[in-house]
Symmetry: C2
Subunit: 322 residues, 2 copies
Protein backbone atom coordinates (compact mmCIF):
# COMPACT_ATOMS: atom_id res chain seq x y z
CA UNK A 1 0.00 0.00 0.00
CA UNK A 2 1.34 3.43 -0.94
CA UNK A 3 2.58 5.71 1.82
CA UNK A 4 1.12 9.05 2.88
CA UNK A 5 4.26 10.72 1.49
CA UNK A 6 3.65 9.13 -1.90
CA UNK A 7 0.02 10.34 -1.92
CA UNK A 8 1.29 13.80 -1.03
CA UNK A 9 3.65 13.55 -4.01
CA UNK A 10 0.64 12.71 -6.20
CA UNK A 11 -1.71 15.44 -4.93
CA UNK A 12 0.75 18.14 -3.82
CA UNK A 13 3.76 17.67 -6.11
CA UNK A 14 6.54 20.27 -6.01
CA UNK A 15 7.11 19.66 -9.71
CA UNK A 16 5.35 17.70 -12.46
CA UNK A 17 6.83 15.93 -15.47
CA UNK A 18 4.70 15.19 -18.53
CA UNK A 19 6.27 12.14 -20.14
CA UNK A 20 5.35 12.04 -23.81
CA UNK A 21 4.32 15.67 -24.32
CA UNK A 22 2.99 16.20 -27.84
CA UNK A 23 2.56 19.08 -30.25
CA UNK A 24 -0.62 17.41 -31.58
CA UNK A 25 -3.73 18.88 -29.90
CA UNK A 26 -5.52 15.51 -30.11
CA UNK A 27 -2.92 13.68 -28.00
CA UNK A 28 -3.03 13.05 -24.25
CA UNK A 29 0.49 14.51 -24.05
CA UNK A 30 -0.78 17.83 -25.39
CA UNK A 31 -4.09 18.08 -23.54
CA UNK A 32 -2.69 17.17 -20.12
CA UNK A 33 0.16 19.69 -20.44
CA UNK A 34 -2.35 22.30 -21.55
CA UNK A 35 -4.61 21.55 -18.56
CA UNK A 36 -1.71 21.76 -16.10
CA UNK A 37 -0.65 25.14 -17.50
CA UNK A 38 -4.23 26.43 -17.77
CA UNK A 39 -5.22 25.57 -14.19
CA UNK A 40 -2.41 27.73 -12.86
CA UNK A 41 -0.38 24.97 -11.21
CA UNK A 42 2.16 26.66 -8.96
CA UNK A 43 4.97 24.08 -9.10
CA UNK A 44 7.53 23.58 -11.83
CA UNK A 45 6.42 21.91 -15.07
CA UNK A 46 8.75 19.71 -17.12
CA UNK A 47 8.07 17.65 -20.22
CA UNK A 48 9.73 15.04 -22.38
CA UNK A 49 9.28 14.62 -26.12
CA UNK A 50 11.22 12.45 -28.57
CA UNK A 51 12.27 15.45 -30.66
CA UNK A 52 12.87 17.80 -27.74
CA UNK A 53 10.57 20.34 -29.41
CA UNK A 54 8.83 23.17 -27.58
CA UNK A 55 5.23 22.34 -26.59
CA UNK A 56 2.87 25.08 -25.38
CA UNK A 57 5.87 27.20 -24.46
CA UNK A 58 7.53 24.44 -22.44
CA UNK A 59 10.99 23.42 -23.64
CA UNK A 60 10.90 19.61 -23.62
CA UNK A 61 13.88 17.27 -23.42
CA UNK A 62 14.18 13.85 -25.10
CA UNK A 63 15.82 12.26 -22.07
CA UNK A 64 14.65 12.30 -18.45
CA UNK A 65 18.27 12.13 -17.34
CA UNK A 66 18.68 15.70 -18.62
CA UNK A 67 16.14 17.02 -16.08
CA UNK A 68 17.17 18.42 -12.68
CA UNK A 69 17.39 16.09 -9.68
CA UNK A 70 14.98 16.32 -6.73
CA UNK A 71 12.64 18.94 -8.17
CA UNK A 72 9.92 16.66 -9.54
CA UNK A 73 7.50 14.57 -7.43
CA UNK A 74 4.96 13.43 -10.03
CA UNK A 75 5.30 12.04 -13.53
CA UNK A 76 2.20 12.08 -15.76
CA UNK A 77 2.76 9.29 -18.26
CA UNK A 78 1.37 9.57 -21.80
CA UNK A 79 3.84 7.18 -23.42
CA UNK A 80 3.05 3.77 -24.95
CA UNK A 81 3.26 0.63 -22.84
CA UNK A 82 6.65 -0.57 -24.09
CA UNK A 83 8.40 2.64 -23.02
CA UNK A 84 7.13 2.69 -19.46
CA UNK A 85 9.48 0.39 -17.48
CA UNK A 86 12.64 2.23 -18.57
CA UNK A 87 10.86 5.57 -18.14
CA UNK A 88 9.86 4.76 -14.56
CA UNK A 89 13.45 3.72 -13.71
CA UNK A 90 14.68 7.06 -15.04
CA UNK A 91 11.99 8.87 -13.03
CA UNK A 92 13.08 7.10 -9.85
CA UNK A 93 16.63 8.29 -10.47
CA UNK A 94 15.30 11.87 -10.43
CA UNK A 95 13.55 11.36 -7.08
CA UNK A 96 10.03 11.01 -8.48
CA UNK A 97 7.75 9.08 -6.07
CA UNK A 98 4.35 9.21 -7.81
CA UNK A 99 3.36 8.25 -11.35
CA UNK A 100 0.01 8.66 -13.04
CA UNK A 101 -0.30 6.33 -16.04
CA UNK A 102 -2.87 7.10 -18.73
CA UNK A 103 -1.47 4.22 -20.82
CA UNK A 104 -4.06 1.55 -21.71
CA UNK A 105 -3.61 -2.07 -22.80
CA UNK A 106 -2.82 -3.45 -19.34
CA UNK A 107 -5.15 -5.52 -17.12
CA UNK A 108 -8.32 -4.47 -18.95
CA UNK A 109 -7.09 -6.00 -22.23
CA UNK A 110 -6.65 -9.63 -21.18
CA UNK A 111 -4.20 -12.08 -19.55
CA UNK A 112 -1.10 -10.71 -21.30
CA UNK A 113 -1.87 -7.13 -20.29
CA UNK A 114 -2.62 -8.29 -16.77
CA UNK A 115 0.82 -9.90 -16.53
CA UNK A 116 2.43 -6.67 -17.73
CA UNK A 117 0.40 -4.75 -15.16
CA UNK A 118 1.65 -7.06 -12.40
CA UNK A 119 5.23 -6.46 -13.56
CA UNK A 120 4.59 -2.72 -13.55
CA UNK A 121 3.33 -2.84 -9.97
CA UNK A 122 6.35 -4.88 -8.88
CA UNK A 123 8.67 -2.42 -10.60
CA UNK A 124 7.03 0.61 -8.97
CA UNK A 125 7.21 -1.08 -5.58
CA UNK A 126 10.89 -1.73 -6.15
CA UNK A 127 11.43 1.91 -7.21
CA UNK A 128 9.39 3.42 -4.36
CA UNK A 129 6.88 4.95 -6.78
CA UNK A 130 3.14 5.17 -6.20
CA UNK A 131 1.48 3.89 -9.37
CA UNK A 132 -1.86 5.60 -10.13
CA UNK A 133 -3.76 3.96 -12.99
CA UNK A 134 -2.85 2.63 -15.50
CA UNK A 135 -5.67 3.25 -17.97
CA UNK A 136 -6.64 6.33 -15.96
CA UNK A 137 -7.71 9.80 -16.91
CA UNK A 138 -5.75 11.87 -14.45
CA UNK A 139 -5.61 13.63 -11.14
CA UNK A 140 -7.00 16.97 -9.98
CA UNK A 141 -6.00 18.78 -6.82
CA UNK A 142 -7.41 22.25 -6.29
CA UNK A 143 -5.24 23.15 -3.24
CA UNK A 144 -2.25 22.73 -5.60
CA UNK A 145 -4.13 24.20 -8.59
CA UNK A 146 -3.24 20.99 -10.37
CA UNK A 147 -5.28 19.68 -13.30
CA UNK A 148 -3.17 16.77 -14.54
CA UNK A 149 -5.76 15.05 -16.68
CA UNK A 150 -6.48 14.31 -20.30
CA UNK A 151 -9.91 15.97 -20.22
CA UNK A 152 -11.73 19.06 -18.97
CA UNK A 153 -12.94 20.55 -16.70
CA UNK A 154 -10.89 22.00 -13.86
CA UNK A 155 -13.52 22.30 -11.12
CA UNK A 156 -14.03 24.95 -8.43
CA UNK A 157 -12.23 24.29 -5.15
CA UNK A 158 -14.27 22.73 -2.37
CA UNK A 159 -14.48 19.91 0.16
CA UNK A 160 -15.39 16.87 -2.01
CA UNK A 161 -12.70 14.26 -2.68
CA UNK A 162 -13.42 12.02 -5.68
CA UNK A 163 -11.95 8.56 -6.30
CA UNK A 164 -13.39 6.66 -9.23
CA UNK A 165 -12.76 3.57 -11.32
CA UNK A 166 -14.38 5.42 -14.23
CA UNK A 167 -12.55 8.44 -15.58
CA UNK A 168 -15.66 9.72 -17.28
CA UNK A 169 -17.53 9.65 -13.97
CA UNK A 170 -14.77 11.83 -12.52
CA UNK A 171 -15.54 14.24 -15.37
CA UNK A 172 -19.25 14.05 -14.56
CA UNK A 173 -18.60 14.82 -10.90
CA UNK A 174 -16.32 17.72 -11.88
CA UNK A 175 -18.99 19.02 -14.26
CA UNK A 176 -21.61 18.81 -11.49
CA UNK A 177 -19.22 20.67 -9.18
CA UNK A 178 -18.83 23.36 -11.83
CA UNK A 179 -22.61 23.54 -12.36
CA UNK A 180 -23.51 23.69 -8.66
CA UNK A 181 -20.50 25.56 -7.30
CA UNK A 182 -20.01 22.85 -4.67
CA UNK A 183 -16.38 22.18 -5.28
CA UNK A 184 -13.68 19.56 -5.32
CA UNK A 185 -10.56 19.11 -3.19
CA UNK A 186 -8.97 16.14 -4.95
CA UNK A 187 -10.13 13.89 -7.76
CA UNK A 188 -8.47 10.84 -9.16
CA UNK A 189 -9.38 8.40 -11.87
CA UNK A 190 -8.10 5.12 -10.44
CA UNK A 191 -8.10 3.43 -13.84
CA UNK A 192 -7.26 -0.24 -13.41
CA UNK A 193 -6.34 0.49 -9.77
CA UNK A 194 -3.28 -1.72 -10.16
CA UNK A 195 -1.49 -0.54 -7.03
CA UNK A 196 -3.75 2.12 -5.50
CA UNK A 197 -7.46 1.38 -5.28
CA UNK A 198 -10.44 3.57 -4.51
CA UNK A 199 -10.24 2.71 -0.80
CA UNK A 200 -6.56 3.72 -0.70
CA UNK A 201 -7.36 7.16 -2.10
CA UNK A 202 -10.29 7.54 0.29
CA UNK A 203 -7.98 6.59 3.16
CA UNK A 204 -5.64 9.45 2.31
CA UNK A 205 -8.58 11.86 1.84
CA UNK A 206 -9.77 10.99 5.37
CA UNK A 207 -6.59 12.54 6.79
CA UNK A 208 -6.50 15.36 4.23
CA UNK A 209 -7.43 18.74 5.71
CA UNK A 210 -8.82 19.93 2.34
CA UNK A 211 -11.30 17.05 2.03
CA UNK A 212 -14.52 16.80 4.04
CA UNK A 213 -16.43 14.07 2.18
CA UNK A 214 -15.40 11.17 -0.06
CA UNK A 215 -17.24 10.46 -3.32
CA UNK A 216 -16.42 7.15 -4.95
CA UNK A 217 -17.32 5.03 -7.96
CA UNK A 218 -16.25 1.40 -7.90
CA UNK A 219 -16.78 -1.31 -10.48
CA UNK A 220 -15.15 -4.33 -8.99
CA UNK A 221 -13.29 -5.15 -5.82
CA UNK A 222 -10.73 -7.93 -5.92
CA UNK A 223 -10.33 -8.07 -2.15
CA UNK A 224 -13.81 -7.59 -0.70
CA UNK A 225 -12.78 -8.09 2.91
CA UNK A 226 -9.88 -5.65 2.56
CA UNK A 227 -12.13 -3.02 0.96
CA UNK A 228 -14.72 -3.43 3.70
CA UNK A 229 -12.16 -3.10 6.51
CA UNK A 230 -10.58 -0.08 4.82
CA UNK A 231 -13.79 1.91 4.35
CA UNK A 232 -15.09 0.93 7.80
CA UNK A 233 -11.99 2.58 9.25
CA UNK A 234 -12.54 5.67 7.07
CA UNK A 235 -16.22 6.47 7.66
CA UNK A 236 -15.84 7.53 11.33
CA UNK A 237 -13.35 10.15 10.08
CA UNK A 238 -15.06 11.25 6.86
CA UNK A 239 -18.48 10.47 5.31
CA UNK A 240 -18.19 8.37 2.16
CA UNK A 241 -20.74 8.28 -0.68
CA UNK A 242 -20.36 5.42 -3.10
CA UNK A 243 -21.97 4.36 -6.36
CA UNK A 244 -21.24 0.94 -7.80
CA UNK A 245 -21.28 -0.30 -11.37
CA UNK A 246 -21.45 -3.95 -12.30
CA UNK A 247 -24.26 -4.64 -9.85
CA UNK A 248 -25.99 -6.97 -12.32
CA UNK A 249 -24.70 -9.82 -14.48
CA UNK A 250 -24.80 -7.60 -17.58
CA UNK A 251 -23.10 -4.73 -15.81
CA UNK A 252 -20.45 -7.06 -14.40
CA UNK A 253 -19.61 -8.30 -17.91
CA UNK A 254 -19.27 -4.69 -19.07
CA UNK A 255 -17.09 -3.88 -16.04
CA UNK A 256 -14.82 -6.81 -16.83
CA UNK A 257 -14.01 -5.38 -20.26
CA UNK A 258 -13.79 -1.81 -18.95
CA UNK A 259 -11.39 -2.08 -16.01
CA UNK A 260 -10.84 -5.84 -15.77
CA UNK A 261 -13.01 -5.93 -12.65
CA UNK A 262 -14.36 -9.13 -11.12
CA UNK A 263 -18.04 -9.52 -10.34
CA UNK A 264 -19.31 -9.12 -6.77
CA UNK A 265 -22.52 -10.26 -5.14
CA UNK A 266 -24.55 -7.07 -5.03
CA UNK A 267 -26.60 -7.92 -1.96
CA UNK A 268 -23.47 -8.82 -0.02
CA UNK A 269 -21.91 -5.57 -1.18
CA UNK A 270 -24.99 -3.63 -0.15
CA UNK A 271 -24.95 -5.13 3.33
CA UNK A 272 -21.21 -4.48 3.63
CA UNK A 273 -21.75 -0.80 2.75
CA UNK A 274 -24.40 -0.54 5.43
CA UNK A 275 -22.15 -2.14 8.04
CA UNK A 276 -19.20 0.01 7.01
CA UNK A 277 -21.23 3.22 7.28
CA UNK A 278 -20.98 4.00 3.57
CA UNK A 279 -23.84 5.92 1.91
CA UNK A 280 -24.54 3.94 -1.24
CA UNK A 281 -26.18 5.96 -4.03
CA UNK A 282 -28.12 4.40 -6.89
CA UNK A 283 -26.93 6.75 -9.61
CA UNK A 284 -24.05 9.08 -10.40
CA UNK A 285 -26.38 12.07 -10.06
CA UNK A 286 -27.71 10.91 -6.70
CA UNK A 287 -24.15 10.28 -5.51
CA UNK A 288 -23.09 13.84 -6.24
CA UNK A 289 -26.21 15.22 -4.57
CA UNK A 290 -25.51 13.20 -1.43
CA UNK A 291 -21.86 14.26 -1.38
CA UNK A 292 -22.82 17.90 -1.97
CA UNK A 293 -25.26 17.70 0.94
CA UNK A 294 -22.65 16.20 3.26
CA UNK A 295 -20.18 18.83 2.04
CA UNK A 296 -22.42 21.76 2.85
CA UNK A 297 -24.68 20.65 5.72
CA UNK A 298 -23.86 19.56 9.26
CA UNK A 299 -23.80 15.79 9.80
CA UNK A 300 -27.13 14.72 11.34
CA UNK A 301 -26.76 13.51 14.91
CA UNK A 302 -29.17 10.63 14.31
CA UNK A 303 -32.04 9.39 12.19
CA UNK A 304 -34.80 11.64 13.55
CA UNK A 305 -35.75 13.73 10.53
CA UNK A 306 -38.47 16.33 10.07
CA UNK A 307 -39.79 17.02 6.57
CA UNK A 308 -41.05 20.56 5.95
CA UNK A 309 -42.62 21.40 2.62
CA UNK A 310 -45.12 23.82 1.12
CA UNK A 311 -46.29 21.20 -1.42
CA UNK A 312 -47.88 17.97 -0.23
CA UNK A 313 -46.55 15.62 -2.90
CA UNK A 314 -42.93 16.43 -2.08
CA UNK A 315 -43.67 15.75 1.58
CA UNK A 316 -44.97 12.32 0.62
CA UNK A 317 -42.05 11.28 -1.59
CA UNK A 318 -39.52 12.76 0.84
CA UNK A 319 -41.11 10.76 3.66
CA UNK A 320 -40.77 7.72 1.39
CA UNK A 321 -37.11 8.48 0.77
CA UNK A 322 -36.02 8.73 4.40
Amino acid sequence: MPTAEQFTALFEPRGVLIAGASTHPGKFGFVSLHNILASGYRGKVFATNRDGSEVLGVQTVPDIDDLPDGEIDLVFVCTPKAANPELLRACARKGITAAFLTTAGYGESGPEGRAEEDELVALCEELGILLAGPNGQGVVSTPAQLCAQIVAPYPPAGPIGVASQSGNFVSSFLNMATATGIGISRAVSAGNAAMAGVADYLGWYASDAATKVGLAYVEGIDDGRGFFEAVRAITPEMPVVLVKGGATAGGARAASSHTGSLATNDRVFDGACRQAGVSRARTVEEAFEAAATLATQPLPAGNRVVVMTTAGGWGVVTADAI
Copy 2:
Protein backbone atom coordinates in the same frame (compact mmCIF):
# COMPACT_ATOMS: atom_id res chain seq x y z
CA MET B 1 -67.25 7.14 -14.27
CA PRO B 2 -67.25 10.33 -16.33
CA THR B 3 -68.08 10.11 -20.03
CA ALA B 4 -65.79 10.89 -22.96
CA GLU B 5 -68.00 13.93 -23.70
CA GLN B 6 -67.43 15.23 -20.17
CA PHE B 7 -63.66 14.81 -20.51
CA THR B 8 -63.85 16.67 -23.81
CA ALA B 9 -65.69 19.45 -21.97
CA LEU B 10 -62.82 19.55 -19.46
CA PHE B 11 -59.94 19.51 -21.96
CA GLU B 12 -61.53 21.15 -25.03
CA PRO B 13 -64.16 23.51 -23.60
CA ARG B 14 -65.93 25.91 -25.96
CA GLY B 15 -66.11 28.41 -23.12
CA VAL B 16 -64.70 28.66 -19.59
CA LEU B 17 -66.19 30.26 -16.50
CA ILE B 18 -63.98 31.34 -13.60
CA ALA B 19 -66.20 31.18 -10.52
CA GLY B 20 -64.82 33.50 -7.87
CA ALA B 21 -62.62 35.74 -10.01
CA SER B 22 -60.68 38.17 -7.86
CA THR B 23 -58.98 41.53 -8.28
CA HIS B 24 -56.35 40.47 -5.71
CA PRO B 25 -53.21 39.10 -7.46
CA GLY B 26 -52.60 36.66 -4.60
CA LYS B 27 -55.93 34.86 -5.05
CA PHE B 28 -56.60 31.71 -7.09
CA GLY B 29 -59.45 33.58 -8.80
CA PHE B 30 -57.00 36.15 -10.14
CA VAL B 31 -54.08 33.88 -11.08
CA SER B 32 -56.21 31.31 -12.91
CA LEU B 33 -58.00 33.97 -14.94
CA HIS B 34 -54.64 35.55 -15.73
CA ASN B 35 -53.22 32.19 -16.86
CA ILE B 36 -56.23 31.48 -19.09
CA LEU B 37 -55.93 34.87 -20.76
CA ALA B 38 -52.11 34.69 -21.01
CA SER B 39 -52.01 31.24 -22.63
CA GLY B 40 -54.14 32.50 -25.51
CA TYR B 41 -57.17 30.28 -24.90
CA ARG B 42 -59.33 30.49 -28.00
CA GLY B 43 -62.77 29.95 -26.44
CA LYS B 44 -64.93 32.46 -24.61
CA VAL B 45 -63.93 33.45 -21.07
CA PHE B 46 -66.52 34.37 -18.43
CA ALA B 47 -66.09 35.16 -14.75
CA THR B 48 -68.16 35.70 -11.63
CA ASN B 49 -67.31 38.01 -8.76
CA ARG B 50 -69.46 39.12 -5.81
CA ASP B 51 -69.17 42.79 -6.76
CA GLY B 52 -69.40 42.28 -10.52
CA SER B 53 -66.19 44.28 -10.91
CA GLU B 54 -63.93 44.08 -13.95
CA VAL B 55 -60.97 41.70 -13.49
CA LEU B 56 -58.06 41.72 -15.95
CA GLY B 57 -60.31 43.31 -18.55
CA VAL B 58 -63.06 40.71 -18.13
CA GLN B 59 -66.45 42.08 -17.08
CA THR B 60 -67.59 39.74 -14.31
CA VAL B 61 -71.17 39.13 -13.16
CA PRO B 62 -72.29 38.40 -9.59
CA ASP B 63 -74.80 35.77 -10.70
CA ILE B 64 -74.23 32.76 -12.98
CA ASP B 65 -77.84 33.03 -14.12
CA ASP B 66 -76.88 36.25 -15.94
CA LEU B 67 -74.46 34.38 -18.22
CA PRO B 68 -75.48 33.08 -21.68
CA ASP B 69 -76.89 29.57 -22.03
CA GLY B 70 -75.00 26.78 -23.81
CA GLU B 71 -71.74 28.66 -24.42
CA ILE B 72 -69.73 27.38 -21.44
CA ASP B 73 -68.46 23.80 -20.99
CA LEU B 74 -66.06 24.17 -18.05
CA VAL B 75 -66.31 25.99 -14.74
CA PHE B 76 -63.07 26.64 -12.83
CA VAL B 77 -64.12 26.94 -9.20
CA CYS B 78 -62.20 29.25 -6.84
CA THR B 79 -65.04 29.79 -4.36
CA PRO B 80 -65.17 28.58 -0.73
CA LYS B 81 -66.70 25.21 0.11
CA ALA B 82 -70.07 26.49 1.33
CA ALA B 83 -70.82 28.21 -1.98
CA ASN B 84 -70.14 25.24 -4.21
CA PRO B 85 -73.38 23.17 -4.21
CA GLU B 86 -75.57 26.10 -5.28
CA LEU B 87 -72.91 27.23 -7.73
CA LEU B 88 -72.77 23.82 -9.40
CA ARG B 89 -76.58 23.74 -9.74
CA ALA B 90 -76.45 27.12 -11.46
CA CYS B 91 -73.65 25.88 -13.74
CA ALA B 92 -75.71 22.85 -14.74
CA ARG B 93 -78.57 25.17 -15.71
CA LYS B 94 -76.17 26.88 -18.15
CA GLY B 95 -75.20 23.56 -19.76
CA ILE B 96 -71.81 23.23 -18.07
CA THR B 97 -70.67 19.57 -17.94
CA ALA B 98 -67.19 19.81 -16.38
CA ALA B 99 -66.04 21.49 -13.16
CA PHE B 100 -62.52 21.88 -11.85
CA LEU B 101 -62.54 22.55 -8.10
CA THR B 102 -59.49 24.14 -6.48
CA THR B 103 -61.41 24.37 -3.19
CA ALA B 104 -59.72 22.56 -0.28
CA GLY B 105 -61.15 21.31 3.02
CA TYR B 106 -62.84 18.21 1.60
CA GLY B 107 -61.68 14.60 1.96
CA GLU B 108 -58.10 15.53 2.88
CA SER B 109 -59.26 17.39 6.01
CA GLY B 110 -61.00 14.58 7.89
CA PRO B 111 -64.31 12.70 8.23
CA GLU B 112 -66.51 15.81 7.95
CA GLY B 113 -64.79 16.99 4.78
CA ARG B 114 -64.98 13.48 3.38
CA ALA B 115 -68.76 13.45 3.90
CA GLU B 116 -69.04 16.80 2.11
CA GLU B 117 -66.90 15.44 -0.71
CA ASP B 118 -69.21 12.43 -1.07
CA GLU B 119 -72.20 14.80 -1.24
CA LEU B 120 -70.40 16.85 -3.88
CA VAL B 121 -69.79 13.76 -6.01
CA ALA B 122 -73.44 12.71 -5.68
CA LEU B 123 -74.56 16.20 -6.66
CA CYS B 124 -72.29 16.32 -9.72
CA GLU B 125 -73.50 12.89 -10.80
CA GLU B 126 -77.06 14.12 -10.47
CA LEU B 127 -76.24 17.25 -12.49
CA GLY B 128 -74.26 15.43 -15.20
CA ILE B 129 -71.08 17.30 -14.33
CA LEU B 130 -67.59 15.79 -14.34
CA LEU B 131 -65.99 16.80 -11.05
CA ALA B 132 -62.21 17.31 -11.30
CA GLY B 133 -60.53 17.80 -7.92
CA PRO B 134 -61.43 19.09 -5.39
CA ASN B 135 -58.23 20.35 -3.76
CA GLY B 136 -56.62 20.44 -7.22
CA GLN B 137 -54.36 22.89 -8.96
CA GLY B 138 -55.90 22.98 -12.40
CA VAL B 139 -55.95 21.68 -15.92
CA VAL B 140 -53.74 22.41 -18.92
CA SER B 141 -54.57 21.53 -22.51
CA THR B 142 -52.19 22.78 -25.17
CA PRO B 143 -54.39 21.81 -28.20
CA ALA B 144 -56.97 24.25 -26.74
CA GLN B 145 -54.30 26.70 -25.54
CA LEU B 146 -55.91 26.34 -22.14
CA CYS B 147 -53.98 27.03 -18.93
CA ALA B 148 -56.71 26.85 -16.28
CA GLN B 149 -54.53 26.52 -13.21
CA ILE B 150 -53.56 28.47 -10.15
CA VAL B 151 -49.82 28.30 -10.91
CA ALA B 152 -47.30 28.67 -13.73
CA PRO B 153 -46.03 27.52 -16.17
CA TYR B 154 -47.90 27.01 -19.42
CA PRO B 155 -45.76 24.34 -21.10
CA PRO B 156 -44.82 23.82 -24.74
CA ALA B 157 -47.21 21.61 -26.73
CA GLY B 158 -46.21 17.99 -27.15
CA PRO B 159 -47.30 14.37 -26.76
CA ILE B 160 -47.10 13.83 -22.96
CA GLY B 161 -50.37 13.60 -21.02
CA VAL B 162 -49.98 14.20 -17.27
CA ALA B 163 -52.38 13.04 -14.55
CA SER B 164 -51.20 13.55 -10.99
CA GLN B 165 -52.49 13.41 -7.45
CA SER B 166 -49.95 16.12 -6.60
CA GLY B 167 -50.49 19.52 -8.15
CA ASN B 168 -46.91 20.53 -7.49
CA PHE B 169 -45.67 17.47 -9.39
CA VAL B 170 -47.76 18.62 -12.36
CA SER B 171 -45.84 21.90 -12.08
CA SER B 172 -42.55 20.00 -11.94
CA PHE B 173 -43.45 18.02 -15.05
CA LEU B 174 -44.51 21.22 -16.84
CA ASN B 175 -41.23 22.87 -15.80
CA MET B 176 -39.27 19.88 -17.12
CA ALA B 177 -41.23 20.10 -20.37
CA THR B 178 -40.33 23.78 -20.62
CA ALA B 179 -36.68 23.05 -19.84
CA THR B 180 -36.34 20.15 -22.29
CA GLY B 181 -38.75 21.27 -25.00
CA ILE B 182 -40.47 17.88 -24.86
CA GLY B 183 -43.99 19.10 -24.51
CA ILE B 184 -47.34 18.42 -22.95
CA SER B 185 -50.72 17.61 -24.50
CA ARG B 186 -52.91 17.60 -21.41
CA ALA B 187 -52.14 17.91 -17.71
CA VAL B 188 -54.47 17.63 -14.80
CA SER B 189 -54.01 17.83 -11.07
CA ALA B 190 -56.48 15.22 -9.84
CA GLY B 191 -56.53 16.67 -6.33
CA ASN B 192 -58.55 14.40 -4.06
CA ALA B 193 -59.72 12.50 -7.17
CA ALA B 194 -63.23 12.44 -5.74
CA MET B 195 -64.99 11.45 -8.97
CA ALA B 196 -62.24 11.21 -11.60
CA GLY B 197 -59.05 9.41 -10.66
CA VAL B 198 -55.67 9.21 -12.34
CA ALA B 199 -56.68 6.04 -14.23
CA ASP B 200 -59.81 7.79 -15.57
CA TYR B 201 -57.74 10.62 -17.02
CA LEU B 202 -55.23 8.17 -18.47
CA GLY B 203 -58.12 6.27 -20.03
CA TRP B 204 -59.27 9.36 -21.89
CA TYR B 205 -55.67 10.21 -22.89
CA ALA B 206 -55.36 6.73 -24.45
CA SER B 207 -58.03 7.65 -27.00
CA ASP B 208 -56.83 11.26 -27.35
CA ALA B 209 -55.09 11.93 -30.66
CA ALA B 210 -52.91 14.64 -29.07
CA THR B 211 -51.47 12.32 -26.41
CA LYS B 212 -48.84 9.66 -27.10
CA VAL B 213 -47.66 8.75 -23.59
CA GLY B 214 -49.23 8.95 -20.13
CA LEU B 215 -47.26 10.30 -17.16
CA ALA B 216 -48.86 9.75 -13.78
CA TYR B 217 -48.25 10.36 -10.09
CA VAL B 218 -50.44 8.48 -7.64
CA GLU B 219 -50.44 8.55 -3.86
CA GLY B 220 -53.16 6.17 -2.91
CA ILE B 221 -55.63 3.96 -4.69
CA ASP B 222 -58.92 3.19 -2.99
CA ASP B 223 -59.89 0.49 -5.48
CA GLY B 224 -56.70 -1.40 -6.28
CA ARG B 225 -58.36 -4.01 -8.48
CA GLY B 226 -60.21 -1.34 -10.45
CA PHE B 227 -57.02 0.69 -10.96
CA PHE B 228 -55.15 -2.40 -12.11
CA GLU B 229 -57.86 -3.40 -14.62
CA ALA B 230 -58.10 0.16 -15.91
CA VAL B 231 -54.38 0.66 -16.57
CA ARG B 232 -54.00 -2.85 -17.99
CA ALA B 233 -56.57 -1.89 -20.61
CA ILE B 234 -54.74 1.37 -21.32
CA THR B 235 -51.12 0.24 -21.76
CA PRO B 236 -51.67 -1.67 -25.04
CA GLU B 237 -52.98 1.63 -26.48
CA MET B 238 -50.54 4.08 -24.86
CA PRO B 239 -47.38 3.63 -22.76
CA VAL B 240 -47.85 4.74 -19.16
CA VAL B 241 -45.08 5.92 -16.83
CA LEU B 242 -46.01 6.08 -13.17
CA VAL B 243 -44.37 7.29 -10.00
CA LYS B 244 -45.94 6.50 -6.65
CA GLY B 245 -45.78 8.33 -3.35
CA GLY B 246 -46.67 6.75 -0.05
CA ALA B 247 -44.62 3.64 -0.78
CA THR B 248 -43.40 3.46 2.82
CA ALA B 249 -45.21 3.72 6.16
CA GLY B 250 -43.94 7.28 6.64
CA GLY B 251 -44.85 8.29 3.11
CA ALA B 252 -48.30 6.72 3.48
CA ARG B 253 -48.96 8.78 6.61
CA ALA B 254 -47.94 11.93 4.72
CA ALA B 255 -50.17 10.93 1.78
CA SER B 256 -53.11 10.46 4.10
CA SER B 257 -52.91 14.09 5.24
CA HIS B 258 -52.15 15.37 1.74
CA THR B 259 -54.91 13.84 -0.38
CA GLY B 260 -56.67 11.58 2.11
CA SER B 261 -55.14 8.54 0.40
CA LEU B 262 -55.15 5.07 1.89
CA ALA B 263 -51.95 3.06 2.19
CA THR B 264 -51.16 0.29 -0.31
CA ASN B 265 -48.77 -2.63 -0.09
CA ASP B 266 -45.85 -1.43 -2.20
CA ARG B 267 -44.67 -4.85 -3.33
CA VAL B 268 -48.17 -5.79 -4.43
CA PHE B 269 -48.41 -2.47 -6.25
CA ASP B 270 -45.05 -3.04 -7.90
CA GLY B 271 -46.10 -6.47 -9.14
CA ALA B 272 -49.42 -5.08 -10.37
CA CYS B 273 -47.59 -2.39 -12.37
CA ARG B 274 -45.42 -5.04 -13.98
CA GLN B 275 -48.43 -7.18 -14.88
CA ALA B 276 -50.34 -4.18 -16.19
CA GLY B 277 -47.44 -3.08 -18.41
CA VAL B 278 -46.88 0.17 -16.52
CA SER B 279 -43.34 1.61 -16.39
CA ARG B 280 -42.85 2.48 -12.74
CA ALA B 281 -40.26 5.19 -12.09
CA ARG B 282 -38.53 5.71 -8.76
CA THR B 283 -38.47 9.49 -8.83
CA VAL B 284 -40.29 12.41 -10.41
CA GLU B 285 -37.18 13.22 -12.47
CA GLU B 286 -36.83 9.64 -13.69
CA ALA B 287 -40.54 9.54 -14.55
CA PHE B 288 -40.27 12.57 -16.80
CA GLU B 289 -37.14 11.19 -18.47
CA ALA B 290 -38.92 7.90 -19.21
CA ALA B 291 -41.99 9.69 -20.54
CA ALA B 292 -39.83 12.00 -22.66
CA THR B 293 -38.04 8.98 -24.10
CA LEU B 294 -41.31 7.24 -24.95
CA ALA B 295 -42.60 10.51 -26.40
CA THR B 296 -39.66 10.96 -28.76
CA GLN B 297 -38.34 7.47 -29.54
CA PRO B 298 -39.98 4.49 -31.23
CA LEU B 299 -41.35 1.85 -28.86
CA PRO B 300 -38.81 -0.99 -28.62
CA ALA B 301 -40.08 -4.21 -30.19
CA GLY B 302 -38.67 -6.29 -27.34
CA ASN B 303 -36.08 -6.44 -24.59
CA ARG B 304 -32.97 -6.97 -26.73
CA VAL B 305 -30.95 -3.84 -26.08
CA VAL B 306 -27.49 -2.83 -27.26
CA VAL B 307 -25.52 -0.29 -25.22
CA MET B 308 -23.10 1.88 -27.18
CA THR B 309 -20.86 4.29 -25.32
CA THR B 310 -17.52 6.04 -25.71
CA ALA B 311 -16.91 5.92 -21.94
CA GLY B 312 -16.64 2.57 -20.16
CA GLY B 313 -18.26 3.53 -16.85
CA TRP B 314 -21.49 4.59 -18.51
CA GLY B 315 -21.57 1.29 -20.37
CA VAL B 316 -21.33 -0.52 -17.04
CA VAL B 317 -24.06 1.41 -15.23
CA THR B 318 -26.31 1.35 -18.32
CA ALA B 319 -25.89 -2.42 -18.52
CA ASP B 320 -26.86 -2.50 -14.84
CA ALA B 321 -29.94 -0.39 -15.51
CA ILE B 322 -31.42 -2.51 -18.30
